[in-house]
């Protein structure tokens, strides 16, 4: 089961990346991992650096995928994003946090721009 979920997640991330690239974004990194945690996708949308959390579900029977991006998850993403920006010297760039929902049953992608603010608690 665990293996199955990982495969589904991976497929969703690939799908999401393809979707974003088709909408004019450039891929900077995928599955970017530091000691603080992991970010699914890091994209560039014109000037802005976009950190993307991809959530894949069969359907929304157990809540929408975006709802699964909890405060704690947002804090983790914020911390990793901070590290990424500092390593690249990009602290002054325009930054955005997006969430991409992937529904595998209907094969449908929903892109939520500006999904949340930076959060450190």
């Amino acid at each position: 089961m665990a293996d199955h979920n990982r495969t589904v997640g991976q497929a969703g991330e690939n799908l999401a990346c393809e979707y974003l690239q088709r909408h004019g974004m450039k891929k900077l990194a995928a599955r970017y991992r530091t000691r603080a945690g992991e970010i699914d996708l890091i994209m560039q949308d014109k000037d802005a650096i976009v950190f993307v959390e991809v959530k894949t579900r069969k359907n929304d029977r157990f809540g929408t995928p975006a709802e699964a991006v909890t405060r704690k998850k947002q804090a983790t993403i914020s911390r990793v994003a901070m590290q990424y920006l500092m390593l690249n010297g990009w602290e002054d760039r325009c930054v955005r946090f997006d969430v991409v929902e992937v529904y595998t049953e209907k094969l449908w992608v929903n892109h939520i721009k500006d999904a949340f603010y930076t959060r450190f608690d």
Binding site: S78, A81, M82, L85, E91, D92, R93, C94, V95, R96, F97, D114, Y117, T118
Partner: protein, 509 residues
């Protein structure tokens, strides 16, 4: 980009200027409000964002810092919503920033972009005027409160979109016409008319004096003799309100969010507050976490009526001692120390004993019961009652007497005449009536002749008066002389005033 909008905040009824600085820059998207905001101010982020979006305006999810300067004073409430929203619009170039910063702006936002009223408009606008600002942009529902002051341009706003159009020079908001103030007599506010009260001529005379000079008065008598009715009728003979007094009252009621009292933006008649005897100290004197004004401040320049005085909690009554003396009350809480004006005329009513008939026959109470009952009113409290009047039972003939007594209007005419004298007397002082005189003014305005002095000396020695009791007698005598139209205080005025002090000796000894 950086933008700066001028707003105002409140501590109690004193307002202070707040600079709302908005900085938007690149970087991780955060929305931070600094400058000691409370929870309501922090939540304005969500209201501002929704209000902007729902008004068809842009909200940028960028690194946004809002500073409410001065940074060391606590900011409370929802009134910064509008200035924050306007600051964001200015910082993102959606409106003319120069034009926007020429206004004093405050108001609460609703999610749909509507502008909701806030409390405390009058004190904020008055302070803004004092500090030299002339253009005020505020919620339309608060606009009338500001429209009584001259030299101001008051712009009423209903929606955020309207504000955006106005500050981008697309449309105009018409400034308010200045409103003029008109007094409405308390008699019209539904008080009982004195002509309906049979008998009790002595008490009516005492209440007339009390109303004329703003003196505290204690009514003692058996149940059912009309104490409560007399007290309520006094509402109708209170002197006409002046504009300055109306502003003072409105400030307090505005901060308390007491819109019921405020009609077309300003209080038009003297408050008459009659709290129930279960009232707590905080309800009477003021308090709560935000140090709200209590009944005594809401009764400022009006009447506080405490019916069944001994049944009030004793600590609540003792809390009134200091305000009764100073006319102000200072409330200290962890996050604020606030001073409210509390210059009220106290009318208290009570029975002489638990059964109510002591002194008029058929009393069933034992002496310890009576002394315990009367003992709830402390000596210092009693000392602050300028006048004490016994209300006796009325006879059947008095009750069924068809000839009508003097009505409230003619009594009020005399009270007004006496107040006019006081207004002239205190025109260079910050006070309104005789009861507010301090020692210096007492020396200056309460000189009596040698006979009057003799009566006072006798009373002082015979009744064991305190220094405070002595000066309170003089103040009452001043009011009696004013009602008489007499420049000096004559012996008969002193004699009458002394007589109103003698009752506590009868019961409390």
């Amino acid at each position: 980009m950086l933008a700066r909008i001028i707003s105002y905040g409140l501590i109690g009824i004193s307002a202070f200027k707040v600079d709302v600085e908005v900085d938007i820059s690149n970087g991780m998207p955060v929305f931070e409000i600094v400058g000691l905001p409370d929870a309501a101010v922090k939540e304005s982020r969500e209201r501002v964002r929704s209000a902007l979006r729902n008004s068809g305006l842009r909200f940028f999810n960028q690194r946004t810092t809002i500073n409410l300067a001065p940074g060391d004073v606590r900011k409370e409430g929802t009134l910064y919503d509008l200035s924050i929203a306007v600051g964001l619009l200015a910082a993102t170039g959606q409106i003319d920033p120069e034009f926007a910063s020429s206004f004093v702006i405050f108001g609460e936002l609703s999610l749909n972009g509507g502008i909701r009223p806030v409390s405390g408009t009058l004190p904020m606008v008055m302070e803004a005027k004092k500090q030299g600002f002339t253009r005020i942009l505020l919620p339309a529902e608060n606009a009338e409160e500001a429209a009584y002051l001259d030299g101001l341009e008051v712009y009423p706003a209903k929606t955020l979109f309207e504000v955006h159009q106005f500050l981008s020079h697309y449309t105009e908001i018409k400034p308010m016409e200045r409103l003029t103030w008109a007094f409405s007599a308390n008699a019209e506010a539904g008080a009982v008319d004195f002509s309906l009260i049979k008998g009790q001529e002595g008490a009516k005379r005492a209440l007339e004096i009390a109303a004329a000079g703003g003196h505290n008065i204690l009514l003692i008598g058996p149940p059912g003799t009309g104490k409560t009715m007399l007290a309520r009728a006094t509402n109708g003979i209170l002197p006409d309100l002046t504009f300055e007094e109306a502003l003072e009252i409105t400030k307090i009621h505005s901060v308390a969010g007491n819109t019921r009292e405020i009609e077309r933006g300003i209080v038009r008649n003297r408050p008459f507050r009659a709290p129930h005897l279960s009232a707590s100290t905080a309800a009477l004197a003021g308090g709560g976490t935000r140090a709200n004004p209590g009944e005594i401040s809401l009764a400022h320049n009006g009447v506080l009526f405490l019916d069944e005085l001994p049944e009030f909690r004793q600590d609540s009554l003792e809390a009134l001692r200091q305000p009764l003396e100073d006319g102000i009350v200072t409330i200290s809480r962890a996050n604020a120390t606030v001073t409210y004006p509390a210059n009220f005329m106290l009318i208290a009513a009570m029975n002489p004993c638990p059964c109510g008939h002591y002194g008029t026959g058929e009393c069933h109470c034992t002496p310890p019961q009576i002394s315990r009952y009367l003992g709830r009113i402390s000596g210092p409290f009693l000392d602050r009652m300028d006048m004490q009047v016994e209300i006796g039972p009325i006879t059947y003939d008095q009750l069924t007497d068809e000839s009508s007594a003097e009505d409230s209007n003619s009594i009020r005419a005399r009270v007004n005449a006496a107040r006019a004298i006081q207004k002239e007397r205190f025109k260079n002082e910050p006070i309104h009536c005789n009861a507010e005189m301090d020692t210096r003014l007492l020396r200056k305005h309460c000189k009596t002749d040698s006979r009057g002095d003799m009566i006072l000396r006798q009373a002082y020695n015979a009744m064991g008066l305190s220094a405070r009791g002595n000066s309170r007698i003089l103040k009452v005598a001043r009011s009696i002389a004013d009602l008489d139209g007499s420049e000096s205080i004559k012996a008969q005025h002193i004699a009458e005033a002394v007589q109103y002090r003698s009752l506590d000796r009868k019961y409390w000894r």
